[in-house]
């Protein structure tokens, strides 16, 4: 029971971070038209920014958090000129390859240029390893609680933007039918750029929560997260925002439970195996409806 509770807490916190990453990834995919494999790599890069700023400011958390979020937006916007010419002529595969290239460059830069490629641990004052609630071996740490509350708040904010504002409606119209969106007078270039800003914002905030929940970052983390994010998005149906959220929470939970109950390092195999079976059963995505717009 205690292990179950502990893994449940882990799973929720992990799943909610996956969910943020998948939402940002899906947003890029449906509005900007980029299947952004390097999206999680950029997030890990922001984690390095947080770590550097923490070191430089004597563990000043607010400044580090702002730097992490700001770097997420800045890097996202900086990549827009790379992808724009490709998406403008609907070169989907070329833009995907470009993101693969970007992911390798970021991984290499982290492996060779930053902290000599060693794992960077986040200071305990930042990750909040203060127990908030304890039941036997099950401990709810402050960092986990903040991650969970933070992710939920960000998601609520994002879905409010998406469903209650004109910017969000513009996003959804471009996702569903770019031609009709254009006829309505939606400024395509500006709306697309806005999606880079929002995806960067989500990525920047994910980097903060990841730093708190994982308590470390490494050059390999980008690839690890990217595989998860891409597979969760495919599992739910590429571009399906609500489906992606639910799938992310489920995967986070399953992964955490397998880690807790199955001996050895089987979490990856079990999770990806389950995903393969799900994709075989529903190739368009588990949460896809008949007319769901896809890639």
């Amino acid at each position: 029971m205690e292990i179950f509770l502990a893994q449940w807490i882990n799973g929720i916190s992990l799943g909610s971070i996956y969910a943020l990453l998948v939402i940002g990834f899906n947003l890029m995919s449906i509005v900007a038209g980029v299947t952004h494999f390097a999206y999680p790599h950029v997030v890990v890069l922001s984690m390095y920014v947080i770590w550097y700023v923490l070191g430089a400011t004597g563990d000043n958390a607010p400044i580090a958090i702002l730097a992490g979020i700001g770097s997420g937006v800045a890097i996202s916007l900086a990549t827009e000129p790379i992808f724009r010419p490709l998406t403008a002529r609907r070169a989907w595969i070329a833009s995907f390859i470009a993101t693969l290239g970007l992911s390798m460059i970021i991984t290499d830069a982290m492996a060779h240029g930053m902290h000599a490629g060693r794992v960077i641990p986040f200071p305990t004052s930042f990750v909040g390893t203060v127990p908030v609630y304890q039941l036997g071996v099950a401990t709810l740490f402050r960092g986990q609680l903040m991650t969970f509350i933070g992710c939920i708040s960000v998601m609520v904010g994002f879905f409010y933007l998406l469903y209650r504002t004109q910017t969000g409606r513009a996003f959804r119209s471009m996702a569903e039918n770019p031609f009709v969106a254009r006829l309505r007078g939606i400024p395509i270039a500006r709306t697309s750029r806005n999606s880079y800003v929002i995806a960067g914002l989500l990525g920047g905030m994910s980097s903060v929560f990841l730093s708190m929940a994982l308590r470390y970052a490494s050059p390999a983390l980008g690839n690890f997260l990217a595989l998860k994010v891409v597979t969760i998005a495919l599992l739910a149906g590429l571009g399906n925002l609500r489906g992606g959220l639910i799938a992310a929470l489920i995967i986070g939970m399953v992964e955490s439970m397998v880690t807790g109950y199955v001996p050895g390092e089987w979490a990856g195999a079990v999770v990806f195996g389950a995903m393969l079976i799900a994709i075989m059963a529903r190739p368009a995505g588990v949460f896809s409806q008949e007319a769901q717009s896809s890639g």
Partner: protein
């Protein structure tokens, strides 16, 4: 009839899709208060012309003026904001969004008096008010066409363009849509209508242009065109489907 103000002037317009010439040296004019019909077979260039006006197609040469202003190289969102809307062929709606959201997006650039315009549109199309919270994709074909027109009206257009509004609709609904167009015109909307159904189109239009493989081959008043032997043979003959 006194000479009215020109709303749309197209001069020597040519458009290509890659190596394929879609429109060749088109000259065309729409005056305030008119219904102008573009007739011709599928692929004759009618849709290309409407999309060129809205800045969707790349233009090779020529100029398009709207209310005296050159809009030839302007982006689509600028042109829509300046007062031209297109009710496209097929379903010009966002089927995964609600009826209300479709109308809100129709007014993308116009924030002032949104409620007032929405009330007017709902008064005109009562069924849309009833279904405002429904996904647009769940509407019937006729209702979707009305939503498409309503979304255009939300942008407070000075020129409304219709592309094959009768396509895929049952005859009863076709009559309904044409009645809506006539009513809009009576209320002062200037209309440019591309339609394969030449009989219907010339029946409500003031003037018309006949398109054939990217060229205007004939133009004149609707009565002249309806009486022209070439038009009768090609588009109005009893042997036509």
């Amino acid at each position: 009839m006194a000479k009215r103000n020109s709303v749309l002037e197209i001069e020597d317009l040519s458009v290509s899709y890659g190596p394929v010439r879609a429109l060749t040296h088109i000259n065309l004019e729409v005056n305030e208060g008119e219904i102008v019909a573009l007739i011709g077979a599928n692929g004759a260039g009618k849709s290309t012309l409407l999309e060129a006006v809205l800045g969707i197609n790349d233009i090779n040469s020529g100029t398009i003026r709207f209310l005296g202003k050159d809009i030839t190289k302007r982006p689509t969102d600028w042109i829509v904001a300046s007062g031209i809307c297109l009710v496209p062929e097929g379903r010009g709606i966002l089927s995964l969004m609600t009826v209300l959201e479709n109308l809100q997006l129709g007014a993308y650039h116009l924030k002032a008096n949104f409620g007032e315009r929405l009330t007017r549109v709902y008064d005109r199309f009562g069924v849309l008010r009833e279904r405002s919270k429904q996904m647009a994709g769940t509407l019937s074909g006729g209702e979707q066409q009305m939503l498409s027109i309503a979304a255009g009206l939300m942008s407070a257009p000075k020129l409304m363009m219709f592309d094959e509004p009768s396509l895929g609709l049952a005859p009863v609904l076709v009559a309904e849509v044409f009645k809506i167009i006539v009513n809009l015109n009576r209320e002062g909307y200037t209309i440019l209508l591309a339609e394969q159904n030449a009989r219907k189109a010339l029946g409500i239009a003031h003037r018309g242009y006949v398109f054939e493989t990217g060229n205007v081959v004939l133009s004149g008043s609707a009565q002249q065109l309806a009486g022209d032997p070439r038009v009768r043979e090609a588009f109005l003959g009893g042997s036509m489907k």
